[in-house]
Amino acid sequence: MITLACDGTFEGWLTALFDIYEYRFTDVEFSSEGVSANMFSTTRQVTTDLLKAERVKKGLKQRLSQQGYQQLYHTFFSEIENAEQQMWLFAQYVFASKINVEGDQRNPVVWNILKAAQMVRRESHRMKAFVRFQLTKDQIYYAVVEPDCDVLTLIAKHFSDRYADQRWLIYDDKRKYGIYYDLNSVSVVEMTFNELSGGVEIWDDKELFFQQLWQRYFGSVNIKARKNMKLHLQHMPKRYWRHLTEKKTGL
């Protein structure tokens, strides 16, 4: 058995696929840690090669619909167990079949990818909804999130399209990195600070007012006669409350 260790990028995973076919590996597993836990296995470090990756990508795109390819790509960010392995099983099926296999949803290999992609899409959608910017004194709109999946790369375009005329920073506190938009483009910023807690002095003068205003609004659109906490929690699970302005206490 061969254990393939990639560098944690999608291109790295694509390169690994190239190697599998080039060296005709049959029995492979993926490891993100770099060292295999399996004592009967040899570990092979995969060096990401953009040319190889591009060729595999092209092959996949030829055999999948745009949506099918995207599902595979999204799965990469799902952080489900053995994501790279599951994606490999799917890709193997794609390359082995003469026809497009993505409709074969009763096949676990296909269904697992579909499900993971669905989860990533839902989480991306949630982040588009749940990001709450706070304006700092130096006029940067700043938000902290802790999504279930690693979705910042997937939502960057949504935010740069929408908020094209304001500088913003979205920080993933779980994965300790953020994306920053400087009015021209979005870049990844690595930082490890424990939230911009700082105190009142870092926020814009009107920031607190708008947060309070939003809270008051959120409170007054509720219809008490229709109270339905189960539905409320289903749509706004508690784990997200920490970063939602309307759920903050003591503003």
Partner: protein, 420 residues
Amino acid sequence: MLLSERVMEKLEILADAAKYDVSCASGQSKRENKNKGIGNSSGFGICHAYTEDGRCVSLLKILLTNHCIFDCAYCVSRKSNDIKRAAFTVEEVVDITISFYRRNYIEGLFLSSGIFSNPDYTMERLVRIAKKLRKEENFNGYIHLKAIPGASDELIREAGLYADRLSVNVEMPTEQSLKLLAPDKNHQDVIRPMTFLKEEIAGRKEEKKIIKKAPLFAPAGQSTQMVIGATKETDLEILAMTDYFYGKMNLRRVCYSGYVPISTDNRLPALGTPVPIIRENRLYQADWLLRFYGFKVNELVGWDQPDLDLDIDPKLAWALRNPEQFPVDINTADLEMIKRIPGVGVKSAQRIVQSRRYRRLKPEHLQTMGIAYNRAKYFLAFSTPFSLHKDLTQEQIKQQILKLQQSKYEKNFSSQITLF
């Protein structure tokens, strides 16, 4: 700088007065962010928050003012109601919208208003706000404006140039109810602007096909709302109106708002009467069946049975009334018939049709494909297991399915009007 305390109080009053309008849709429009402005509408709605009643908050939904010259019994803002009144200035609405939008609290603005002095005066203010947002703030987020019944065609046309969606609320499903509860209004006031908008929207669409650069005109179309349970209409009457709105008026959405008792007026259900949440839900389900599942109104309700069942959903009810249509063989049936199987949604139906090309589907496959199998199984024909169910009567199937679902609303199985 806003005068903060007063603005907060106004927002509370004017959001509270607007909240009974249930529409909160922000999808269905596509507006790009031009020239590095602020905002866009991406064609799918984003619900930024949910209130404790489980409803989505996607738009800043407010009235410009709750001063009103009308006295409609079902409305909180009616003239004779003794409540706090307030009015926003144009600048305040624009400032709050932009500030909320920039913080990613909302998708845009849903602006309605009580009618002060006269319809044109009111409409002109609404249009002025939308115009300022689009022209001065370069705002491309979602804007939903109320078309005030009785406002001039010119103003409504101008509103369409700035708004993504316009709506006129019919409020009461029938003319008699409207006469009873809103003596100052008549159905024609509502139908007239609706017809005008329908033609305007259709005309502009044609124009846009020829001239690419023609301006957008209410790209998300128009919608309306009916209050449910305040008056004695049957679901048949309500759904007939719905059908008319979708079929003849090309409306994008019809919303149903279960009446929340807000008045001691004896023409209306008493204070404390439960909101007919289940009935409202059944109407939405029926609405979906009409729009996405190919059902006709007369398949769901009829003269012999003018109301939807409250204890089971309308699709299941239809299936139980039409046993001769089942069992369905999902390996051969066409998509339209598969969509009609209880427990199978549009997406699942498409999945079934897609995946059966690869292999014959068996019951265990359905369970992993996101289908409510425990519900669907009574209506499916598989070579082997169907014999298990085929001897059950319709009533037995209904009871077995009912046992599966435990509704927290059971106590609310009332259509409200029966309670007084």
